[in-house]
């Protein structure tokens, strides 16, 4: 009975979304407050029915009701509980319902939080959110319904189950984190559209959505980093970023969102860059939808999606509609959007932010270009030309380095105009530090972009420490506080600013990690017991090869001793070769899998893969990768999260 209730709830949500839009639209015309209240409640009703529907699907997953197609495909009786829960976003229809679920949570919060404010903006905010909900309701009701019954004329005793290879925690967390980011940008977008509809170009809408934007950005950033972490730990190709279309789909909105996050500071303080900010949030939200589309529709020739589905064209239409309607609105309001304030100088913080916007958008375009290159080349030249990481790296490394430089330059520029003396006073120490670093690095033997990257990192860290120092000494002079008290008070009273600087430190660390990639080394070889081989100055000796049978797989375990070029003991590595479903009579259903072992230090990661085993002769085929500085990427990630939390920390007032 309840699966039907789930489908009916989705139907009702669909109906309510249409009613909500109509009701609120009429309100904007006749100002009858009762219509606003009803429209608002209809919006809450949409969310209520979506919640109901989602909880019903979750319940079906938990009780393993295989009469529902979705439950049978993605779970089995043996699937551990936590993965029955995460199965909600394992498949296409479920993940769309999940998107809708998160959107409904955010819509509910937005409506409830704003019951007594923003009276002018709220109608169109709710209309916009309802339209987005409507889109996903159309998909889940009519195109890909998670409550479809199983198409079989006999009782399904057990479902497909979740591939054990997918059963790890990161796999469960990565999609929801990304979705929280994607969906999170709906709210700022809705406020932007509302501001346009209301001809309200004040900073009111910006102030309302600052925290939302930061939270959505935090989730998007975390989701991306988690994805990289998972790829590195689980997939065994030794890297964390492959410029894959699906990865790029999450990176593009991140770029425009980061630009937006910075640019709204200027609008709040100086009422400039209004057109940029509108354009950036529209782009960000569109790219989020586009990202969802790229991941779920199979349109790109990514190894991860061989089949196209009917979802593709529908998403594309939605994306085009969003772009056309939003930018038309912007065009219609262009005279109100244009700011009377003018940029005064190239060496001002305002122009620094403008340039910042430009570089982020340029990088976004570059990634977009590379991602769509196969489609473009096929349309233009008739042959599909695919592009790989070397292409993306060649284009994006210089742009990334410019961004890194800007991270350091920006904070040192003054508002309106930086006087020559200030320029000299602020930039001398960081530039000298960067130059000295460059000389040292070149002396060590590094070349090209490696030197630039490391030197810029030093430069940026120098500027950030200068900022902290300036802030602390301003306080100690004025209030006579101790350094620690000054530091704490300073950060506490300016959480956005100093939280932001800490995020920048995290970014610098990540750049250091990325640069290590230039020094990656790898080698594949075979070893029998007692044999050794060398890679990048390390010696790898196979001590032992053992076998064991575990509940759902069979494993060969290699015990490899690692020593460095001085003969000192480093560690033991235990990569495994496993076969899942090893007892399955159908040989094709047995799944081999290499379980990696990684020895990680600040300096480098030693990454071991047990590729294959020759049982009869006791030979292990091993692949070793020595990846310097990878740890800095994860450390940078943590610092980024901490910095953002500081910026988000709520104030008493």
């Amino acid at each position: 009975m309840t699966p039907i209730a789930g489908a009916v709830a989705l139907n009702l949500a669909f109906g309510f979304s249409i009613l909500s839009i109509i009701c609120l639209f009429i309100f904007t015309l006749n100002e009858d407050k009762r219509l606003f209240l009803t429209g608002q409640r209809l919006s809450l009703g949409i969310s209520f029915f979506v919640f109901l529907s989602t909880f019903i699907l979750w319940y079906q997953l938990i009780i393993s009701n295989f009469d529902i197609d979705y439950v049978a495909r993605y779970t089995s009786i043996e699937t551990p509980f936590i993965y029955k829960i995460s199965a909600l976003w394992a498949g296409q229809s479920g993940s769309l319902l999940f998107w809708l679920f998160i959107l409904s949570i955010f819509a509910t919060i937005t409506v409830l939080q704003n019951q007594s404010k923003h009276h002018g903006l709220m109608p169109w905010v709710i209309i916009s959110l309802s339209i987005i909900q409507l889109f996903f309701l159309i998909l889940t009701n009519f195109v890909t319904n998670p409550f479809m019954p199983t198409d079989a004329d006999f009782v399904v005793a057990n479902g497909n189950g979740l591939n054990p290879l997918l059963q790890n925690v990161t796999m469960a967390i990565h999609p929801p984190t990304l979705y929280l980011g994607y969906v999170g940008f709906s709210v700022p977008f809705a406020f932007a559209i509302s501001a346009l509809m209301n001809r309200d170009t004040s900073t009111l809408w910006i102030q309302s959505i600052r925290r939302w934007t930061l939270v959505a950005w935090l989730f998007l950033s975390s989701g991306i980093i988690l994805g990289g972490w998972w790829a590195y730990q689980e997939l065994g190709w030794g890297g964390y970023w492959a410029w894959d279309p699906v990865e790029n789909a999450s990176f593009m909105p991140w770029l425009t969102a980061t630009a937006f996050l910075h640019s709204i500071i200027i609008q709040e303080k100086k009422d400039m860059l209004r057109i940029w900010n509108m354009a950036l949030i529209i782009l960000t939200f569109t790219l989020c939808i586009f990202g969802t589309f790229l991941t779920r529709s199979g349109v790109m020739s990514s190894v991860h999606s061989f089949t196209a589905s009917s979802l593709g064209p529908i998403f594309l239409i939605f994306v085009f509609l969003i772009l056309i309607i939003s930018f038309s609105l912007m065009y219609l309001r262009r005279s109100e959007l244009r700011s009377e304030k003018r940029m005064e100088s190239f060496t001002s913080r305002e122009s620094g932010f403008l340039f910042n916007n430009l570089v982020f958008v340029v990088m976004c375009f570059a990634v977009f270009w590379g991602t769509l290159f196969p489609v473009i080349s096929e349309t233009v030249r008739g042959t599909k030309i695919t592009v790989g990481p070397p292409f993306f790296n060649q284009i994006n490394v210089p742009i990334g380095l410019i961004l890194l430089a800007l991270t350091g330059v920006g904070p040192l520029l003054a508002w309106r105009n930086t006087s020559k003396q200030s320029l000299i006073k602020n930039f001398t120490f960081p530039i000298l530090s960067g130059l000295m670093a460059a000389i040292i690095f070149m002396f060590i033997g590094f070349k090209g972009s490696v030197v630039i990257s490391f030197s810029l990192s030093v430069f940026v860290l120098a500027t950030i420490s200068t900022e902290f120092k300036r802030g602390i000494s301003a306080r100690t002079k004025k209030f006579n506080e101790s350094i620690f008290k000054a530091l704490f008070a300073m950060v506490s009273k300016n959480r956005s600013r100093y939280g932001g600087y800490i995020v920048h430190v995290g970014i610098v660390f990540m750049f250091v990690g990325f640069t290590g990639h230039a020094f990656d080394k790898e080698k594949e070889f075979s070893l029998t017991k007692g044999q050794s081989d060398h890679v990048a100055g390390y010696e790898f000796t196979l001590l032992k090869l053992s076998e064991t049978e575990r509940p759902n797989h069979y494993a060969w375990i290699s015990d490899i001793r690692v020593t460095d070029n001085k003969g000192e003991y480093v560690t033991n590595l235990y990569p495994e070769k496993r076969i899942y479903f090893h007892k399955n009579p159908d040989v094709n259903r047995r799944q081999p899998h290499s379980e990696l072992d990684i020895y990680s230090t600040l300096n480098k990661d030693i990454y071991s893969i047990f590729s294959a085993v020759d049982n009869e002769n006791g030979v292990a085929f091993i692949k070793i990768m020595v990846n310097p500085l990878v740890r800095w990427v994860w450390i940078g990630g943590y610092i980024l999260v901490i910095g953002t939390m500081i910026a988000l920390w709520p104030r008493k007032d």
């Binding site: 005793a157 699906v246 060649q394």
Partner: protein, 144 residues
């Protein structure tokens, strides 16, 4: 020149530089592995393309031959529809590589053999949802 004009020129300048940069890299990628033409096996055999190409297809059943002397070295036959192509690959093979597997290979064609330096199989473990073999699932009949 008023400052607004200055800024517009700067923005236009940056955009022009960027377009040229992207266009230049697209036409002259530094690394030969940056680009590959994704074509059908049939077209490759007809045109005997020497450029770096990417092909997709299935591993012909029984065609995988692993070298006796070097375990990493293997050859197999790639089948796309009616077209068949002999492939040599000398890196570590992905776990899902076997008879009938769907693969994408990248490399160069020379004198009847395709020398692949990249080989990817339909990656079950990469993305949840897309990875499951959606075409069939365990259906157990209940005896009546």
């Amino acid at each position: 020149m008023n400052s607004n004009k200055k800024f517009t020129i700067m923005i236009a300048g940056v955009i022009t530089v960027v377009f040229f940069w992207i266009g230049w890299v697209s036409s002259n990628p530094k690394d030969e592995k940056a680009m590959a033409s994704f074509i059908s096996v049939e077209k490759l055999l007809n045109d005997k393309m020497k450029k770096r190409t990417k092909l997709g297809g299935l591993v012909k059943d029984g065609s995988i031959i692993i070298s006796e002397t070097n375990y990493l070295d293997c050859s197999f036959v790639l089948k796309e529809g009616a077209a068949e192509l002999k492939v040599k690959y000398d890196r570590s093979r992905p776990d899902l590589f076997k008879d009938g597997a769907e693969v994408i290979i990248t490399g160069q064609y020379l004198d009847g053999t395709f020398y692949a330096d990249e080989l990817q199989t339909k990656c079950a473990s990469r993305y949840e949802g897309d990875l499951r073999d959606e075409s069939s699932y365990k259906l157990t009949e209940i005896e009546t």
